[in-house]
Assembly symmetry: C2
DNA sequence: GGAAAACATTTTAGGCTTAAAACAATTCGG
DNA sequence: CCGAATTGTTTTAAGCCTAAAATGTTTTCC
């Protein structure tokens, strides 16, 4: 059995380390499986939100962010938290203000900033939806033991950190 | 310590089982973490595909499906595999045929069916992109040990099965 | 054989999403 | 203090995405 066969790097004729064409099929499969899980659950949640409450998932997500911030958030905050573009938030907020779920006002101390909050209606509707939403999630993950859940949490935390590091390497 | 406090179900005054308001905060956190990981990685891959190859992620995904099917696929097949709506595929295919990456023809045995394939150009470009794409994924998951990867695969398989079961319960 | 069901795709209407450019307000450095 | 970055938001152009309805085709089953 040649010694090289288990190495991940080799020395070339100039004695400089070169990468062997590594096999990353496992990571690729892992990524696809991660994506499948998310797509599956997301689609299910989207459908249930529409059927039960006639609301879209992005609107629900935005309201969820605001529910955790009684004093409101700026559009930038929301955009960072939701990991979507600024322009996207502008449109979402527009429609939710229109429907009476959100209140939007310009900050008194910085006239660039828009602060948005849930209205009474918005908060009431969100709480109603969130309660049911939580049971859907519980059901979707029902076959995982508490230990599975903990272990997944741990591994996904590691995954998140790894991905963030990789992203930071690209644009420092 | 009351015996009920650790129970997940109680008997009410009519001796009928009722659910206690269970706490599913862990599952909820797990779902949000799963979503964060996917969004993070997806965004990174999307950006790199655009910068390096001026291609969108959905187009890349569609080509990836076709690369695995030398004899082509029907639009329905693609739609199921990619877990997106039929109408979505119609538009994607339109643009990829237009740009010369895909070939589309009506099945000879069933005139309802459209069979699509990668063109020579499409296959060549995809292979070039896929090679680089694989290194990005490897880098994004770089901090996971082989054991982590195996364990994540196992737990995500369990998650997928659980979610599919839950989805099937809703629309049998 | 022919109506009815099932199937594959497209169309429609509306909303979501992004990247990049434009605009506006604030902060920073000289 | 003032021009130059920086920051927060909106606009723009293009594409993605979905659910539902519409269209055309095949199968089923009386």
């Amino acid at each position: 059995m040649p010694a090289e066969s288990d190495c991940t790097a080799m020395l070339d004729s100039e004695t400089k380390a070169v990468e062997t064409p590594e096999d990353h099929a496992d990571e690729l499969r892992l990524w696809l499986r991660l994506l499948t899980c998310t797509t599956l659950i997301e689609g299910e949640v989207r459908g249930r939100l529409r059927q039960r409450f006639d609301v879209t998932l992005p609107r629900f997500d935005l309201m969820a962010q605001l529910d955790k911030a009684p004093d409101g958030m700026t559009l930038s905050d929301v955009s960072k938290r939701m990991m979507v573009s600024n322009g996207n938030v502008t449109g979402l907020v527009e429609r939710l203000v229109e429907s009476g779920h959100l209140d939007r006002r310009t900050s008194e101390t910085d006239r660039r900033v828009q602060v948005i909050r849930l209205t009474k209606l918005g908060r009431a509707e969100f709480r109603r939806m969130a309660a049911e939403h939580e049971t859907w999630i519980a059901d979707l993950f029902a076959d995982l033991s508490p230990k599975d859940v903990r272990e997944l949490m741990r591994l996904l935390a590691k995954t998140k950190a790894s991905a963030q590091k990789s992203a930071a390497r690209r644009r420092p």
